[in-house]
Symmetry: none
Subunit: 190 residues, 4 copies
DNA sequence: GATGAATGAGTTTTCATTCAT
DNA sequence: GATGAATGAAAACTCATTCAT
């Protein structure tokens, strides 16, 4: 059913990201998406069952892309501390370079739709995380605690900082980035 | 001029908190609030100029209450490390004990309304934080970096953890709480 | 029942005239009148039975004032042509000098309220007109036709002109006024 | 883009004219129009951007129709006096035969919407008038004064008379019509 | 595959009015 | 005499979705 017309599909996705990051999820209506994409509202229902279906599909796509970037170029043979810092820098650089992707995902995570994300989606992401943090624990670098706590201290402070930077209430510089990465490391290291 | 009838005012606030935490901010309409509060929609406009006015008033009230709790019982003469851990535990306990307050504030922070919070509100909160973290820096306990980074590493991991606990994807126990408080401390300490 | 408090009554009337001439009859609500008059909406219902009652009372008051001015200083012994021109000039001067009175009356005349003006109101005005135009006919100056046609050609072109002047689409000068008065005279004279 | 379905469009226009002439512009709501037209309120927004857009579109359509009728069958080679009287009679007959059109246009002219009529609309109408009255001046029949004064004395007395006739306070007969046409001529002729 | 047209249910807000104090 | 509080009804408008073509 999918892939009827890749171009039209992408223009729907693009219009949705644009709107959600500009006017917010709650102000993003199907008709506005259609207008922005230059198509009829009803065409959206050729590609998606409902507005919810569209938003979730887009979320899954973006979240997956975002998470894959984290472990890009991470080598199991490198020293773990170096790997950890690279992975976190990867993540920060990605969300800074792709503000719309990041802001869309964040809006979504803090919305009523969040509950409806298919569980399998999580498992794929969690698998990658688990592999990485288990390695750190096995090699004796990381605290032997629930991995989710390690994940939280790795990603959320950075995410909050970047959000404030996008909002204009924080200033970004190389030094601050290094501080954040260091602090996360100090929180999770054994 | 406000506070015409304290009881009715509170029933409006209660209905609003209930709805926002149950169905989400974007699904919370004035008519639903009125129905839940057992009054007419138009009565809400006797108490508030607009839906936005209602939401912001409620947010300011709750956020203030929440922030005041953090430094409750914190004594300047105590050892700073002890003070820090007490303050963070205060905060965590408050949001665990008042899930609706916490979830309302979070929804609001991640919504388009966030931009419309009166600035003075921020300054009051920031003042308390600044005083506390500057003390920690002066006494040589905290990293000499931008205070906002210290705040972020103190509150956001805990908040994310509690959110996941409320969602049902995390399990809460004393040990985990201690882990979180420790990790935050290790992130911010000199 | 009337004359409870002359001052308050007048502030209601003033607020009403102001609003109707500024935002239009249909945008003039009881609560806006109250706000402008600095009183409570419910106080208006102490003075008037309904919004309609208020508007009609004000209309009757203003219309009467406006019509009385027309024959101010008109002397039965003067030459009729002179009287006619004086009366028309009186009228034009009055509506130019009292734009709010004129615009309120005009808005009202072109509204659904117009149907509800008490008939006795008309008879008083018509009596004055009849007396004047009958004199003109008796003295052989005016066409022996239905008086209402004479009234129409006397007042409506001038009113339309002044309306356009207030709107900004016409420019007022002494010469044009003389043209209007002349043309009306040529239309009604025998 | 407009004129999706001529029949439905006309039923919207018809319902609007009916309502405005029966209950007045300010009492004419979108939902009443929809009910009368036998469609859903929201359908009206398929055809028009707003209530204002609907009303202005209708006004422009009707006013244009009305103005075109005036100079119908007027021949430049006829004697000007004859042309003038024909044109005025044309106008009077049209508004008598089309009371709803006339009353709608009048309500609109005396409403807050009046300010929002697109300017081009005026220029088309004014062009026709100018051509006609300039001819009358050039041929020595009309006063050499501002054309707008000639227009006012030609149309407004007749309009006021017909309004009163529709209201029931005037009686229409052939003789009165001739009086009106004569009086207008005497007002404007050199 | 695409869309124009249509709609019921909903939105926020204002209205004229009432009534207990 | 005056008013704060309350409200049912209505306003203009938007929504996600459907369906015939």
């Amino acid at each position: 059913m999918r892939y009827k017309n890749k171009e039209k599909l992408n223009s729907i996705f693009d219009a949705t990201i644009d709107l959600v990051t500009k006017v917010g999820l709650s102000e993003t209506s199907v008709s506005k998406i259609a207008r922005k994409a230059g198509i009829s509202s009803s065409t959206i229902y050729v590609y998606f069952e409902s507005k919810e279906d569209l938003l979730i599909s887009l979320y899954v796509k973006l979240k997956e892309k975002m998470m894959l970037k984290i472990y890009d170029g991470i080598n199991e043979n490198d020293n773990f501390k170096k790997s950890y810092k690279s992975a976190l820098l990867n993540f920060i650089n990605y969300i800074i370079d792709n503000p719309k992707v990041f802001l869309f995902v964040e809006q979504f995570n803090n919305s009523p739709f969040e509950k409806k994300i298919p569980k399998e989606e999580y498992s794929k992401i969690i698998y990658n995380h688990n592999k990485f943090y288990q390695r750190g624990q096995k090699e004796g670098y990381l605290k032997n605690i629930e991995i989710n706590l390690l994940i939280i201290f790795t990603h959320y402070p950075a995410m909050q900082f970047v959000k404030e930077y996008f909002k204009g209430s924080e200033i970004l510089n190389e030094q601050k980035l290094q501080h954040i990465i260091n602090m996360s490391w100090e929180a999770v290291k054994k």
